[in-house]
Point group: D2
């Protein structure tokens, strides 16, 4: 209810302020008897971590996850998986400058108004550092989905106004990790990198768009009406810091098509029902139809910039402020594993719910 | 869990197949002692009902709501509000033609696969008829929000490729109900009407975009992390039939802006913190900041068209099909009260949750 | 959250005031494709209904259930099952006498204080009339459990201080419906009937104890820690009007035993693990072990009596009151189907949750 | 859903196996701005910890809680409170003897059957060690309730067949901590201690009954119908290891009273409505009426005994077993803070929900 839990059967509850003792979480409802590779979780965390490339923040957060329960001799017990990541970068620095100032387009003001108190160190609970917990749960979910043949892959489609013109079918998604912006279109990736570097020099920041693909979803995943698979994916994406938009399949562009253009005709291939086109993005009536599920996620530019900005402080005085320290000019590449993680959590949760649709 | 409940405190659970005995719902968690105007609920239902204009379906569904409990002598009791709308258009027509055929881009195939059974009459549970229940709950929520000064207004921004170029600030939203497409830009509205008429003649269908505005949201609404106000709004919107996209504030376009352009500087006006711009769309860190909340919702074109289409049947045979009967060529104008309803439910629910943020 | 929903997967939400338009409910999460006998639901409702015998209230509530959705051609669709029972006994009688008086040991005072408003007619939402909705859902659950061999049977163990000395193994539970007090021990039943008749004449009322037995529970039902099967059964029972106590297996008496007496030794019979004794009542660590589950439920005497009582009114004045109309001197026999219903709901819900313990 | 979360607004999710790395939890929904004394949490943990007296197990578990988030400069942030207790007594002892043997009246068999895997070390997740997490959350809840004047106190009423004949009104509850069995009746306490010592010598074990009192509950706490305050208390109690029964107010004995004896007449004292008697145990219609809330909780004797017992192993063979190591002959005194903790969690959660009953 208070916002720190996601999912219904496979359920993540997370805790932690950016500069507190630790962040972490509990995954409840993970099915029993499944092999989990803890090293693989660390690989995903490393894809999210700060300081992974020269265009990313140089903060050194090692983000080492410690599994505290729920996995025994390499297998899930069916009991809650507790985990924790100590905050090692907790330098007792001087917060007096930002303590009472509301950074523009951050959550300082809204948290203070909502709770009457906030941990002002590094954004506290509102920091995107919290998303590391999602990556842990998502990595476990991805491993489990893989045993059913379901694969979740996200990549950067656009940074600023640099955008690949290719569809996911035209791209080779095995190349996503080949460059630091996680765009599998090499030429475009280079342009993106140049743009990020140039923007960083100006002390400004960038947004972008991530596309996520779910290959081989089983037919029949997603509950009807309010818990449509697309509705839960949309919620999952909009719950990520800096996300401003979500579109499934044809998305906003589809609003301009005619029904006769947009409809996905069914046909049979090798005895399996498939659709000629996939404007539906693999979901019909909120339920997966077996075709690829794909969607776009829009990220606004990073709110922390190194230019002087107008704002107010806690006492309602208008003041100037300018960021200090180390911050990403563009978080979109680092958000790729977060998008994958939230997608995998939604999918596994829905897959488990599907197991209750019929009495076995 | 099974998808037919929405909300956490102010919670709607709905039931009903399109051509069953009735549709209806239960609203639990409505605060006690509030005056509810039942006639106003009917007004909102009439805005959603089929057959309200010559461009809408000519099916005559009177959609008369009967309140069964929870309101006593005009006021809410704090107990669940049960309500029901009888399905009067239940003509025992011949369904043999469509019984076993999967209509393209409908949910016939996915429901059948998921449940192994479906009510094939008029789409059954997957029909948008179910949204009438949302309008009932939403109308109650809107009435309650209004007592706190919060107003929810949606309107049609775009149909097909006809789009108003004006912002909501430039439009006069009191004119939304003045035309049958619910676009407050009269010239554009006329173009939209002409487009719908022409498309109807061709037996084809259209999609479009609705914009929704929440005026005067109280500061501090929305829970952090997973239950961000924007995440819940996104889920609410994507849970509506035919919706493919959601964007808050600057949305997808904001991904191309620089941080220095996108950030909303705070300033004080008459002792109240406001922002210079509102790219955030009134929500920061998932919590309302007191500025207008606005977002766009993309609808795909209606799947039911009067052109012959390729599809398959239950036995896996490729067949041709063509819709019969009366169907809207464009549901976007009728979806305006649905968007408002879901928005109001999200807002009231979050407002009640906010009442638990501090001990009183 | 507001208290009108029970269950997690198989979930009942109910609505309705005693003398409002109707009571009813929505069952969400019922698995698809199961045959439901609607006549059997009516049989269970008739076991609960008032006026079924000369010792019961003579109010004539026909309690006819109307199924509104979710069942199609005799089978569950997997969609929500909406249902309704019209309140036919809604005589516009004069409530001025009781409108502002708080009946002792009823919920008039607490509802008024909690909500600042209440439907004073016949107890409104606090009336046990609401339990008819549980019987509807429970009857469906019982039918489904039966397909898995799980049988739920409750009976009256004690009324006032008249108690059968026999265990459920010594009783013939097929005789429960043979007498109007639903005690399968014929001699004791006659004594109970005599006691109820005598107490009725005095204008007083009685309580009693119901025992419930679950035969053939599948091993492994019940979630650990907070959602133990016994915890959910206890909640279910204490949620029934007038219930003051719950005990599983050895119960309160077991507190006086030694561990060596109380422990249930495992042994093998025909290759199946069984226990020599069953002090555990079929549940260990919150999970069914395959043995009979049995528990007792204590009901206080009916609060409505025909003797003058001291109480207060809404204005804080001390007044005298005396019940009028038709009321049961003992509700325990009529509560038997309610206990069965709530038990069946808990069991089916847990059985469905069990289907998510492993990935299939 | 998977059983490791309790509460709706003030919500505890716990994790951890008895001999894993750590146990811990997350408290979500704790209101913001409240002072929490972390030392007081440790005091409550020490009341629960093993080895606190000569009649308790001699295992040395220091049970030191580490708060990881949610409390900043001594006050709650409104964000989740993460906490952890390292398992220090994790001696890599030889489990080969018990690994495959199902201890009678323990959860070894049911966990193995349910999940197909279990952590056999010290009972794993089914161990009562998990209740330490409840004590942490409950201690925080008790501190918060105290600021509203609500006090929760539990004490031992009975061990084996030694029982105090005094009511809580006749006892001085400030003496609960004065003896090692936590019975405030000194003579009875001495008899209890002697019984425990004698039973320990025989290698056997004891159960007992705890009574819990909530002084000064605010009127109007508890939701109606399914989430009655008594229903939630019953669930909370039955979710504690070894609990077999719950009774509120008059409880099982009340079933033998007449309505005229049992009804609690209202009267006014100093302008405040009170009841002459309190057979209702402070709750009517599931909602607190302002009188003392009191209830009894029955614990079965400890399942671990040092006598040889018959049982079976994983391969379905009948075997003999006998406990080794250090185990409590009676856990009832150590369960007192657990009962208080669960009671406080239920009360605070219901108090917060009450804040949503009306729009403020």
């Amino acid at each position: 209810m208070a916002g720190n839990t996601f999912g219904s059967i496979f359920k993540l509850t997370s805790f932690g302020e950016s500069h507190g003792v630790a962040i972490g979480g509990i995954i409840d409802g993970c099915p029993a008897g499944l092999s989990i590779n803890v090293d693989q979780i660390q690989v995903d965390l490393d894809r999210r971590k700060p300081g992974q490339s020269h265009i990313s923040t140089q903060r050194k957060e090692s983000d080492t996850v410690e599994i505290l329960s729920g996995i025994f001799e390499g297998k899930t017990l069916g009991t809650p998986i507790g985990f924790m990541i100590r905050n090692k970068d907790q330098r007792s620095k001087d917060y007096s400058k930002i303590k009472d100032v509301y950074r523009p387009s951050h959550a300082d003001f809204t948290y203070q108004e909502k709770y009457g108190i906030r941990d002002y160190r590094g954004g506290g609970r509102s920091s995107a550092r919290e998303t590391a917990c999602r990556v842990v749960a998502g990595s476990i979910a991805k491993q489990i989905l893989k045993t059913k043949g379901i694969e979740v892959t996200a990549f950067v489609l656009q940074i600023g106004s640099i955008k690949t013109g290719k569809t996911y079918q035209e791209l080779n998604l095995s190349l996503v990790e080949e460059n630091i912006v996680r765009c599998p279109d090499a030429d475009i990736a280079n342009q993106m990198i140049a743009l990020v570097e140039a923007t960083k020099k100006k002390g400004d920041s960038l947004g972008g768009i991530i596309q996520c693909l779910i290959k081989n979803p089983i037919v029949g995943i997603g509950e009807p009406v309010f818990d449509r698979l697309n509705a839960n994916l949309a919620k999952a994406m909009l719950s990520i810091n800096a996300v401003k938009g979500f579109e499934l399949g044809s998305g906003f562009a589809g609003s301009e098509q005619l029904g006769s253009e947009h409809n996905d005709a069914f046909k049979m291939i090798d005895g399996i029902p498939v659709t000629e086109t996939n404007n539906s993005g693999g979901i019909q009536g909120g339920i997966s139809n077996g075709q690829d599920i794909y969607f776009n996620v829009a990220f606004k530019p990073v709110a922390t910039i190194f230019k002087e900005q107008d704002t107010i402080n806690k006492d309602g005085e208008e003041v100037k402020m300018k960021a200090e320290g180390r911050h990403d000019p563009c978080v979109v590449p680092r958000a790729v594993p977060i998008v994958e993680a939230m997608t995998a959590i939604v999918m596994l949760d829905a897959l488990l719910l599907k197991q209750t649709n019929r009495l076995v």
